[in-house]
């Protein structure tokens, strides 16, 4: 009985979503007049946000990867918030989990896994670092890069039962990265006119030293996400001795 209800509910939900996303109308911004006055500069906005992103990203932010420009520049405040969500979750996990005695004893992994993961770890870390350092040039950025780094540490945790993250180092990295992000935002308030605004020269688009504050923020996010995710995994692992 419950299964039937569940199936009916799930298919109804699916149908609703299918209907809602199947007919995405292309709003014609040229023809229609919206009397919406921009409260900040008083102009009448009549511009589609996505097309603004597509046509102006390179000039306004200096980043070649438009996704990065949106994530770090246009909607940088959301990114600060999302990083904070992850930070809150990591803090909550470490606040609530407490060590209990008598976890299951885990068998040692075999030689190939142990030596192999040692061999692969530097490359995984390098890939992660590459992904977030080159966030403004190639696909990827702070979140994926940090996740790749965390999965490298996860590999070590899986193959060595006695491998633990150094708690102090992880929390210091996490804090320093978060402080860097928020502090750069405040510097934007001081040197430019608003929070998180770019105050560094944009440089030549396509080079690694370009796009102003984007690379700095993305490196901070990479370190932060990496340390947070690995600390969550580490905290969950701790019980099993």
């Amino acid at each position: 009985m419950r299964k039937v209800v569940a199936i009916i509910l799930a298919s109804a939900f699916f149908a609703v979503l299918l209907v809602s996303f199947s007919n995405i109308q292309q709003a014609d911004y040229g023809e229609k007049e919206y009397y919406y006055q921009n409260p900040i500069n008083g102009s009448y906005a009549n511009e589609s946000v996505p097309s603004h992103y597509i046509s102006n990203t390179k000039n306004e932010t200096g980043a070649v990867n438009a996704v990065t420009a949106i994530v770090v520049e246009y909607r940088g405040f959301d990114t600060l918030g999302e990083v904070t969500v992850l930070f809150t979750a990591a803090t909550g996990v470490s606040f609530l989990l407490y060590k209990t005695r008598g976890g299951k004893k885990r068998t040692e992994a075999n030689l190939i896994l142990k030596e192999g993961s040692k061999l692969v770890l530097p490359f995984i870390l390098l890939t992660g670092a590459y992904i977030f350092i080159h966030g403004h040039l190639t696909p990827g950025g702070g979140f994926p890069g940090g996740a790749v780094i965390a999965s490298g540490f996860l590999l070590m945790m899986l193959s060595y039962p006695k491998f633990f993250m150094k708690e102090r180092a992880v929390s210091v990295t996490e804090s320093m990265a978060g402080i860097t992000f928020a502090f750069i935002g405040l510097l934007g308030l001081v040197f430019a006119s608003s929070f998180l605004q770019n105050f560094l020269p944009l440089g030549d688009a396509g080079y690694i030293l370009s796009a102003g504050i984007i690379p700095i923020i993305y490196i901070a996010i990479g370190f932060k996400v990496g340390s947070e995710l690995s600390s969550i995994a580490d905290k969950l692992k701790e019980v099993q001795k």
């Binding site: 990065t68 969950l236 019980v239």
Partner: protein, 82 residues
């Protein structure tokens, strides 16, 4: 509209199948692995739909870390659903 090739169809059924298996199975470890498989296939779909940024994130978080965290959490509780 993006043309659905035969590979896209296979991937779509794989995702749905893995998701249903993850709900139905009583073994929670298998359920976690099935959910991981689903998100791995979804990440390939993102790549096909030309969203490489999302694909990288989904692959490393959905398929890697979430699965490991689930497995650790199951290790703290019980493996079998009643």
């Amino acid at each position: 509209m993006i043309e659905l090739t035969i590979i896209s169809w296979i991937m779509a059924f794989l995702v749905i199948g893995a998701a249903i298996y993850a709900i139905e199975t009583k073994d929670l470890i298998s359920a976690a692995i099935a959910a991981g498989v689903a998100s791995l296939v979804v990440s390939i779909m993102f790549l096909v739909l030309q969203a490489p940024d999302v694909a990288i994130t989904e692959a490393s978080i959905g398929a890697g870390l979430t699965m490991a965290i689930f497995v650790y959490a199951i290790g703290r509780t019980g493996r079998w659903e009643e």
